[in-house]
Symmetry: C2
Subunit: 282 residues, 2 copies
C-alpha cells in the first residue's frame, strides 16, 4: 500500500519503519525539513517533505501529531485527498477527536497505539515498537466498516494486540491507567517541593530512592502532553481524580483514627489485584 | 569485632555477609531455626541460633527485625548483655524507637539503612547492598558519643553514605519520599478497583502499561510494612498526606476551571525539580 504519515516523532517514525519493512511505500510529512531529511536517511520513509499535498495518492494516512493538531491537520489535508483515502490517528484521547474527525472525513478510524518509551521525537524511534502492545481502535456507528477493516489489518500486521471499543470507553479506561497516574505522580513531587523547612526538603532529596523515583516518574514527563491529556479528556480525568481523592481521604481517615487493620487490608487488596494490571508484555 | 545480628531477613543477612567479609565475627539470631541453618550454610553468619543469650559477648548488635519487634527485642536482650555492648537498629522510623530504646539501653544508636530490593527475607540477601546507599544515623543529646563513633565507622566500612540527623528530621524526610509514596500509590490501585463499570475496569487492566505499573508499585508491597510505616510515623505521614491532598486539590481545581496553563506550569516545575531527588547511586 501507499501510506502517509503526518508527524514523524516517536510513534510516526516507528510506524514508518515497520510499515516499510512490511513492503509498503511510506511518505512522511513533518513541519521541520531537518526531520524529513533524517526520516529519509534512516529509512523511516521512502520520501518525506513539509508538504501535505505529497500525500494525495496515499491509501491510508496515519496522523501522529500532538492531539491539538489532529483536527486542523485533517482540515488542511482534505483539499489534497481522494475520497477513498482512509485517515486514522494516534491520539491518546478519542472522544474529542473521533466524532469531529468523522464529520470532516467519512473514512476516518480513531486509533491509539499504546506504545512508547521515555523519549520523544524521531531520534527515539524503535523498530518493532508495537509488537505485543495494545493498539486500540475506536469505531462509532458512523465509521465505514471497510475503513475499519483496512486499519485493523494494517495494525495487526505490526503484531500489535488490537482492541476495539467506543471512544467513550477508551477515554474512561485510559483516564484510570494513563492520565490519572500523571496527576497523582505530579502531585507527589509538587507536594514535596511545597515543604517549607529547607532542611527537611534537603534530606528528602538525599534520601529519595526507587520508591520515590518510580512514583514520581510519569508526573515529570512532557508538560505539554500532560496538559493535553487533562484538556482533551477533561471529564474522564476529573471523574478519576474525584474517585482517587475519595480513596485518599479514606486512607487519611484510617490513619488519623488509627484504624491500622483498614490500612493493612487495603494494601493487601492492592497487592493481590495489581498483577491483573500488569500485562505479560510489559 | 564480635557482632550480633537479630533478624536475618534481607537487611540483616546482607549486613552479616558484608561484615564477615570485612573480618568481623558475626553471630545471628532468628526466630526460625531454618533461617539460622541457611545463614550458616550461606556464610552470612559464623553461627546462628534462636537464642538471644548467644549474643552475650558481642560488642555491637544490629537489630534488623520489623519495627514493632525492635523495643521488645531490646528488653529481652538486656539480661544477657555486658553494659559496654552497643545496640543499633535498622528500623525505617526513628522517632518512635530512639528515645525509648535509649532509655532501655544507654549505648543505643538509631540507624536506618536506606537500601533494599523488591524482595524480603534471607533469600533476598545481596552482597554489597549498602554500597553508595544512604545510611542514616539519628543521635540525640542522650546518645553516647563513643557508641555513635563505633556505629558510624562500621557503617562507613560498608561503603554506605552516612548521614546524621535527628530522629524527627529523619521521620519528616522519609515521610515525603518513602511513606507518602506508598499511600499515594496504594490510593491509585484502590481507586481503579473502585471503578463500578466492569467493562471499563477490564479495559483499564488490559491497557495498563509502564505508567500505571511504576506509579502503583510501592503501594502494592508488603502490607504489614506499609501499615507499620503509617503506625509508627503517624504524625509525619499525616502531615505529608494533608499537604499532598492540598496539591491534588489544586490540580483538580485547575482542571475543573480549565486553567490549562496552571497544569502545564506545575508539570514543567516537576520536570525541572525531579532530578534533584534522583541520586546518582540509583
Amino acid at each position: 500500500m501507499k501510506i502517509g504519515i503526518v508527524g514523524i516523532g516517536l510513534i510516526g517514525a516507528s510506524l514508518g519503519w515497520d510499515l516499510r519493512q512490511l513492503g509498503h511505500e511510506v511518505i512522511g510529512v513533518s513541519r521541520q525539513q531537518a526531520t524529513c531529511e533524517t526520516a529519509e536517511q534512516k529509512g523511516i520513509c521512502d520520501r518525506a517533505s513539509c508538504d501535505l499535498a505529497s500525500l494525495e495518492a496515499t491509501e491510508v494516512i496515519f496522523i501522529c501529531t500532538p492531539i491539538a493538531a489532529i483536527l486542523p491537520t485533517i482540515e488542511r489535508l482534505i483539499p489534497h485527498l481522494q475520497p477513498q483515502t482512509i485517515i486514522t490517528d494516534a491520539g491518546s484521547v478519542k472522544g474529542a477527536i473521533v466524532e469531529p474527525a468523522t464529520k470532516l472525513w467519512l473514512n476516518f478510524v480513531g486509533g491509539h497505539p499504546m506504545a512508547g518509551n521515555s523519549e520523544s521525537g524521531i531520534a527515539a524511534f524503535e523498530k518493532g515498537l508495537f509488537v505485543d502492545r495494545p493498539y486500540v481502535l475506536t469505531p462509532t456507528p458512523a465509521t465505514v466498516p471497510s475503513a475499519l477493516t483496512t486499519v485493523d489489518e494494517l495494525v495487526r500486521s505490526l503484531k500489535a494486540i488490537v482492541y476495539q471499543t467506543t471512544p467513550e470507553h477508551h477515554d474512561l479506561a485510559v483516564a484510570w491507567i494513563s492520565h490519572l497516574p500523571v496527576m497523582v505522580s505530579a502531585s507527589l513531587t509538587g507536594a514535596c517541593l511545597a515543604e517549607t523547612d529547607p532542611q527537611i526538603l534537603d534530606l528528602a532529596k538525599k534520601f529519595a530512592s526507587t520508591g520515590f523515583r518510580d512514583t514520581s516518574r510519569v508526573g515529570a514527563g512532557n508538560p505539554e502532553m500532560g496538559m493535553m491529556m487533562a484538556q482533551y479528556n477533561r471529564e474522564a480525568v476529573l471523574r478519576s481524580l474525584y474517585r482517587y481523592r475519595d480513596r485518599l481521604d479514606g486512607i487519611i481517615d484510617s490513619i488519623a483514627s488509627k484504624q491500622w487493620s483498614e490500612i493493612e487490608d487495603l494494601l493487601a487488596t492492592n497487592q493481590a489485584a495489581r498483577p491483573d494490571f500488569l500485562n505479560s508484555n510489559d
